[in-house]
């Protein structure tokens, strides 16, 4: 799968962070990028269009990344959506909770374009197998 054809949804309450992630994705050749500023908005986006991978922050008001992940997994239509969780630090409890809830992978801030691309690629490969 080519980067150009992968539609990425960035979920983060912090606009600057969304911009950072968007730029990193662009560096790796991703073009189809949408954004949501919290979990509630993200769910709306997910329901209205086909998203190939969600890149969501952990720590957000209203609905945390973990809650969003759980909501996605609980929704029959969205359950299979690939989900990459962004965390500020690799706190074992947080990561384990996300993994148990069915996250496809996680990434620790700060990260480079290469690492982000690698993680998304890995997720796409594993689900296309």
């Amino acid at each position: 799968m080519n980067e150009k054809n992968i539609k990425v949804l960035i979920v983060d309450d912090f606009a600057t962070m969304r911009k950072v992630v968007r730029n990193l994705l662009k560096q790796s050749g991703y073009e189809d990028i949408v954004e949501a500023e919290d979990g509630v908005m993200a769910l709306k986006v997910l329901k209205s269009q086909k998203i190939d991978v969600v890149v969501s922050d952990w720590n957000m008001p209203n609905m945390t990344g973990l809650e969003l992940l759980k909501a996605v997994r609980a929704d029959a239509d969205l359950a299979k959506t690939p989900f990459l969780m962004v965390t500020a630090e690799a706190l074992q409890d947080n990561v384990v909770a996300a993994v148990k809830a069915g996250v496809n992978n996680y990434i620790v801030k700060p990260f480079t374009a290469e690492v982000l691309n690698e993680k998304i690629k890995k997720i796409m490969e594993s689900i296309n197998k």
Partner: protein
Amino acid sequence: MNMDYSNLLKLLNDLAQEYLFKDSREIDIPLAGKLLNQLELIADEAKKQQVSSVKSCTVGLSQILEKTILDQIDDKDSAAKVFEEGIHIMQEIADSFSNTGRYDGSIQEFLTKAGSVAGLTAPIVADEPAAEKIVDVTSDTSSESVETFEIQDEALTRDFITEGLEYIEEIEVNILNLENEPENKDYINAIFRPFHSIKGVASFLNLERIRSLAHNLESLLDKTRNGEISVTPSLIDVILDGADALKTLIGQLRDVLEGKAISKSPALDIPALEARIHRLEQGLEMEAGTKKIGEILVDEGIISQEKLEKTLKAKGDSPEKKIGQALIEEGVVKPKQISQALRKQVEQVTDLTTIRVDTTKLDDLIDMVGELVITQSMISQDIKEMANADKRLTRDLSQFFRITSSLQRVSTSLRMIPIKQTFQRLTRLVRDLAKTTGKNVSVDLVGEDTEIDRNMVDEIYNPLVHMIRNSVDHGLEMPAERVKAGKPERGLITLKAYHRGGNIVIEIADDGKGLDKQKILSKAIKSGLISSEENLTDQEIYKMIFMPGLSTAAKVTDVSGRGVGMDVVKRAVEKMRGKIEIESAIGEGTTFITRFPLTLAIIDGMIVKVGSESYILPTTSIRQALRPTRESYTSVVGKGEMINAMGQLMPLIRMYELFDIDPEHKNPWDAIVVVVDSESGSRCLMVDKIVSKAEVVVKSLGEGLKNIKGLAGGAILGDGRIGLIIDTEGLFELAEER
């Protein structure tokens, strides 16, 4: 007891299949998640069937998986091998149990291996594997507080003891910090982490008591960290007690390891402690005020204090017996009285009509409602401009507007709390002050139920303290003096609160000697604040006590009179957009009247335009707005530009220069100047035009722009555009710096 191991066997089989049928040797994250969930089910089932060895294995396997997820495993091949071995051992154990009801092999070797691949442990001793040593101390029935320890790995346990005690020291230091700064999340985290580490290692060493206590404390702290429960004195107490209990447990563990007799600790009651933790977790915290059944009975006059103590003493031998039961058996109370007391006790703990809500959630709500109200006014503006608006639409919208405004009223009231608590704190202060000054003072509270924004309570406290100090120290006379003046020996301070015209008014009145105008005047002349006895009104003279460096106290006392205080009060009150007034009569007393807006969330402002930008000036600081004549403009060398307004020369501040905007007008006589008052005198702010007067919801500019000089925040205006709220004091400083 007959156990059914079929479910356990099935779960283990599922796990084995999931793991062995994976495509590659590597465990990826989705697989790790599935395996972790399966291990959790197995652990629960093993616990139910009392197969503790399987449960221990699941802990080992979960640790390997968790470290895999975190990419902290160096030797992935060995990890995979150990993991396979773990599954195998668990199946063996479950088979053995279902056939014979027991398992004679040892899981120690596996646990050690799992520990080492998970990178959890200190180096494992090379000589023969540590023999399983079970120290059973339960035979010592004289003390309930001694725990049983099963030591599985001596070297590891030794490391744990040293590290664990260090961790607890860390907890103790940080909890004291937390007590001083309950809002500081860093301190909560600093306490959370060591509990978390203790729990992790203890679970691995199968030290169940320590693990479970650490776990409970950890999850309590997690809730605190998430803001679900707040940091209260009882929470701090529980955590400190928890740390102590862990220390004792670890100490006992060391005793066992060294073959010493376990030192007894009568204070250790883990179930009671865990019950306290759970109560706090559920928000049912027993505040210090919660009374015991015995105390309630004594208060009600049903039994005497002596009787209660005697019964408690007699009951000491059988702790499982409740005090109520003992009292009934002795025939001193009726069962009905006990049940009433019990009900009373419950009422103290659970107040079902209220819930605790995080204040940040409330703030968010109020903020959103503020936005809603603004959007509503935008819509109403649009409708007015539509020449032939639908009749029905207009009617529906007016209904909508009514709902929004009541929603705003209700949501604002959520954050309101009675001023009672503040008043009570102040009453205590008056008592203390009376003692230090040797005066007799009583306090009268009026309108304690008047409500005030929670966010303002802390801010108004300090100015009120200063004013009360002033009233007790300067206002009230000594008892002898009062008697001579024909007044009651005991002085009276009245604290009064009420709402008036969108403000909360707080009055502090004393029945003392009143302000001495002559004394203030001579003092003001002496310190050069005024030149001579100008023609001043009473109000103007009284207000001089708010000037820096003016204190009328004959001598400096501990309580007040260092020339600081009243000017600080005025500044603090004005910072909250409040006003302060004084009424006084010689021989009758002085009253400070302070008025604050009901909430700091909404500001009454004047919207002005500079170029294409809108700014909001707080109405409280505006004196007037005018278009200056060409003649009134002067440029003074060394002093800058001045405007002569109202017969007074005032510095001119060109807003467009400060904010670097292209203005519409560059000549003051084409533009508008707004005369703005501040602590340091008045200035003329030059703007292009005045748009309107409006109430706006104050928004923070966010972390990054928090401390910009001259700006107090932002607001969304009626037309949907953003306006910046001016902090006049800061703006003036900014202008001076240029």
